[in-house]
């Protein structure tokens, strides 16, 4: 019977080998596929057990997000600053598999990267701790923006033109990111971030773009004289100045100071669709700003068809380029984009890549990642930037933007007042674009208020910009 027993044992060895093969299949070969199976709750538990790193403001002490124990070795997120920073910070709910804002876009850092060695020996440490994310956000500036908006729906974006660091990103209404399913259909507040997602008409703040294209292309100088009569025919439809004022021949600088529509419409028409579009693209239009923020919460600024509201392709023949030149004609912007326009002019024509993350520091206090300023595009010559700055400075000194003056600091700015609602409703959408100090810019800002009953950029948005600028500059920003 010995040979039968040997054969039987051979069969058993073969069967056990099959067991080893299948164990290998599950533990190694198919492991990552199984880890990602939607039915697999172990992956979720692993996520819940990670102590995500903190999110901090640029002062390094204000905590915007941190992890607290939630029992069973799991963690949950707490947002001490709540609504104030909800839009940029977002939230993370691993249990529901939801995340927004920096919690989503910086999720990899916040969970902590694992090296191959860690995944083998990682079980020796009890808690996997993620890295802390230090943002560029300024708590006092953010608070100033919220207070100055004072409950009005709208948005404020301020950034450092030299680095692209976003100092303020506030959108009202905000939401409570400590709540359950805070972006759900029944949740109070709004997860819609006006700063990056809204669809605003820039109005006269867009004249900064038009002036840049006009001067940088060599077709105009700040002293070029254009006839400012009103009304004029633009694309077959009469266009009036504010109050139908007939300005007569005026320099481009004067046109900027007094926001003369008919002059800028003529300039835009002469500069032409192609060149206007080229400069808009250099400023960042027609593409999503490369922000460290969830791409699905960023909208590219562009031109929409007035007929059906759909985006037009760049330089479309359907564009009314004259009205686009004064920020109408379907131009559709986000406050972030207009803040980038201000920043490009402020930084000598060089647009820096906007960013929210300053650096990433691991649990041992070692800085593992530093976000260095990078050039996004060279929008214009430095000389053009200086000339546009000069024009914008006069807007605040003697033109439509005098409401923004404070404390002897020279400010370059541009007002905007788009009309809203039905013609004759008197509803406006005031905006203000600025940077300061004009001779050594530290802060570039754009403010847009959704709706005002007859208010102007200067009277409604300007004071908000002033409050935020004042706060940020007083901090030495």
């Amino acid at each position: 019977m010995t040979s039968q027993i040997v054969r039987l044992f051979t069969l058993i060895v073969a069967l056990f080998a099959l067991l080893v093969v299948f164990t290998t299949r599950w533990t190694v070969i198919d492991a990552s596929k199984l880890d990602n199976n939607t039915l697999n709750r172990l992956t979720l538990v692993t996520q819940l057990r990670i102590k995500r790193g903190r999110i901090l403001a640029d002062d390094g002490t204000t905590v915007l997000a941190r992890s607290v124990p939630a029992g069973g070795g799991t963690w949950r997120r707490v947002y001490p600053t709540d609504q104030l920073f909800a839009q940029p910070v977002g939230y993370s709910d691993a249990l529901e598999g939801q995340a927004a804002g920096l919690e989503q876009s910086d999720g990899g850092d916040l969970r902590g990267l694992q090296t191959g060695l860690d995944s083998i020996f990682g079980q020796l440490t009890r808690t996997r701790t993620g890295d802390d994310v230090y943002t560029t956000l300024d708590p006092r500036g953010q608070r100033a923006a919220a207070q100055a908006l004072g409950g009005q729906e709208g948005s404020v974006v301020a950034l450092n033109p030299r680095t692209g660091a976003i100092l303020v990103m506030y959108s009202n209404p905000s939401y409570n990111d400590n709540g359950r399913n805070p972006c759900g259909p029944r949740a109070p507040g709004s997860c819609f971030n006006r700063a990056t997602q809204a669809n605003y008409e820039p109005g006269s703040t867009f004249k900064v773009v038009t002036a840049t294209a006009a001067i940088d292309s060599g077709l105009y100088t700040p002293d070029s004289v254009i006839d400012g009569r009103s009304p004029i025919m633009v694309s077959g439809v009469p266009l009036e100045n504010d109050g139908n004022q007939n300005w007569g021949p005026q320099s481009l600088t004067t046109a900027m100071i007094n926001s003369i529509n008919t002059i800028f419409a003529q300039v835009a028409e002469r500069v032409g669709r192609g060149t206007m579009t080229e400069y808009m693209k250099r400023f960042g239009f027609y593409s999503k700003p490369p922000l460290d923020y969830p791409p699905d919460a960023i909208r590219p600024s562009d031109v929409h068809s007035l007929l059906n509201g759909r985006p037009l392709p760049p330089a479309s023949p359907d564009e009314d380029i004259g009205r686009i030149g004064i920020g109408q004609g379907g131009v559709s912007v986000t406050p972030l984009q207009m803040a980038m326009v201000a920043a490009a002019v402020a930084n000598g024509g060089r647009l820096m890549t906007p960013h929210l993350t300053a650096r990433v520091v691991n649990a041992d206090g070692v800085t593992v990642k530093t976000v260095k300023p990078t050039v996004y595009s060279q929008v214009m010559k430095a000389s053009t930037a200086a000339e546009v700055t000069q024009m914008m400075t006069k807007v605040v000194e003697e033109g439509t933007g005098t409401t923004v003056q404070f404390g002897g600091i020279s400010i370059a700015g541009k007002t905007g007042t788009a009309s809203r609602g039905a013609p004759g409703s008197g509803l406006t959408e005031p905006s203000f674009l600025a940077f300061a100090p004009a001779n050594d810019p530290k802060v570039a800002i754009d403010v847009i208020v959704d709706q005002s009953h007859g208010g102007y950029g200067a009277t409604v948005a300007g004071p908000i910009a002033r409050a935020v600028l004042q706060t940020l500059l007083s901090e030495g920003k």
């Binding site: 039968q4 080893v20 199984l34 039915l39 799991t74």
Partner: protein, 436 residues
């Protein structure tokens, strides 16, 4: 070195294993190495030493590796069970003691185990009767769609198939010893297949029928497969006829196919096996939840595992059990999770070594009954391991049998220690020097 001294030295890995294992679990639990872990190690070492002394006194020639291999498995098992549920580990430890008492009792009572042959019909009848007990209303327990156990007041569940398997092996070893020649030579050949005389083959047909009946009546595919596999293995070794095995497997496959397509419960198990990640089956009652989560647990283990005590069995902060029956059916998945592929394969290798030593005893035995008995006992352990590990790893449909010596369960521990005692008895007789 004498056989017994080798056995003593071979116990060292088991004692180190149990101590290191408990230490690991304690470190994970409380970050503090409690001296309780060392106490557990000492108690188990003491029990193993006690058993060793029994073997030394009664079976001086027995195989020196069988017991240490079992000790390693049992010590590993108690650590795993402790890690899953410390209260169950305490009961498991008590069963361990009872198992060792029965182990010693078996050795003393059956010094000459060949007298078991005299009672072979009594043994087989008792085995078949207790196999049917779980179906008896009032005492049977219905678990996860199968009748696996009976309730014994004060003891909890009792799984008769663990003991019945030994009884059936004893019967078959004895019966085949008598009839194996007749089965081969006495039959007529039809179409090249030897048809054994019905008179001698009858009892084997009865066992086939019983295996099928277990499946139909108890819905217990695992035990059925285990008993039937043991039967075929012994039949093959006794007769050397592959044709018997082929016909036997075909008959079993036919029966299994019929049941798999006609019995709802069996059909569900097969469906779960084929499509464990189908969301509908996953959330169905008697669905693939268990097998799917067992596989997820293995996937989380990787090469080296997550570490002792790290497996996630209950969703944190809730009462939601991710792996049903982690200490019995699914213990292999927990092992693969915590110790990884290497740990799981190591466990399988220990079983293979045990089976090899069992077969060694069978080969060197001087009489056919001893050979068949050792073969059957070893083979049935091998098949039991294959049935449950194969079920957990999706080689075959998942059915509830225990992982011998490791899974939680009093019946399993006690019965398998009796099985070990019989193997040692055979081995001692085989290795005893001739006395003229």
């Amino acid at each position: 070195m004498s056989a017994r001294n080798r056995e003593l030295v071979a116990l060292i890995p088991a004692s180190l294993l149990v101590t290191a294992g408990f230490a690991g679990v304690f470190i994970q639990r409380s970050n503090v190495l409690s001296n309780v872990s060392l106490t557990y190690g000492a108690i188990f070492l003491g029990l193993c030493l006690g058993a060793h002394i029994v073997i030394r006194a009664t079976l001086p020639h027995a195989d020196p590796y069988l017991f240490p291999l079992v000790a390693a498995l049992a010590c590993f098992g108690i650590v795993m069970v402790y890690r899953i549920d410390s209260a169950e580990a305490r009961r498991q430890a008590e069963w361990f003691v009872i198992g060792l008492i029965l182990f010693a009792g078996t050795i003393v009572a059956f010094r000459d185990y060949r007298k078991l042959e005299r009672y072979r019909y009594t043994i087989v009848v008792i085995s078949l009767v207790i196999l049917a007990l779980p179906r008896v209303p009032g005492i049977g327990q219905y678990t996860n769609g199968a009748y696996l156990a009976i309730r014994v007041p004060g003891l909890g569940g009792f799984q008769p198939e663990e003991f019945a398997k030994i009884g059936l092996v004893i019967f078959l070893a004895s019966y085949l010893r008598d009839t194996r020649q007749v089965l081969v030579t006495g039959g007529r050949r039809i179409l090249g297949i030897t048809i054994p005389p019905i008179k001698h083959f009858g009892p084997i047909l009865v066992i086939w029928g019983v295996a099928m009946a277990i499946m139909v009546l108890l819905s217990d595919m695992g035990s059925s497969l285990m008993l039937y596999g043991g039967l075929l293995a012994m039949l093959y070794v006794a007769t050397g006829r592959i044709s018997f095995v082929v016909v036997g497997l075909a008959a079993f496959a036919l029966g299994a196919w019929y049941l798999g397509t006609h019995i709802t419960h069996v059909h569900a198990r097969v469906e779960d096996w084929l499509h464990p990640f189908n969301p509908r089956l996953y959330s169905a009652g008697l669905g693939s939840f268990q097998i799917a989560n067992g596989i997820f647990a293995q996937a989380a283990g990787g090469l080296f595992g997550t570490g002792f005590g790290q497996a996630v069995l209950i969703f944190p902060g809730t009462n939601y059990h991710l792996i049903p029956a982690p200490e019995t059916d699914m213990i292999y998945a927990v092992i693969a999770n915590e110790l990884g592929l290497f740990g799981a394969v190591a466990v399988l290798v220990v079983y293979l070594l045990f089976i090899a030593r069992g077969f060694k005893a069978a080969v060197i035995s001087r009489d056919s009954f001893s050979t068949l008995l050792a073969t059957g006992l070893s083979a049935i352990v091998a098949i039991q391991v294959f049935v449950i590990v194969g079920g957990v790893t999706r080689v075959i449909p998942l059915t509830g049998v225990t992982l011998p010596f490791i899974s939680y369960g009093g019946s399993s521990i006690v019965a398998n220690f009796v099985l070990l005692a019989l193997l040692l008895l055979v081995s001692d007789r085989a290795r005893r020097p001739y006395r003229r």
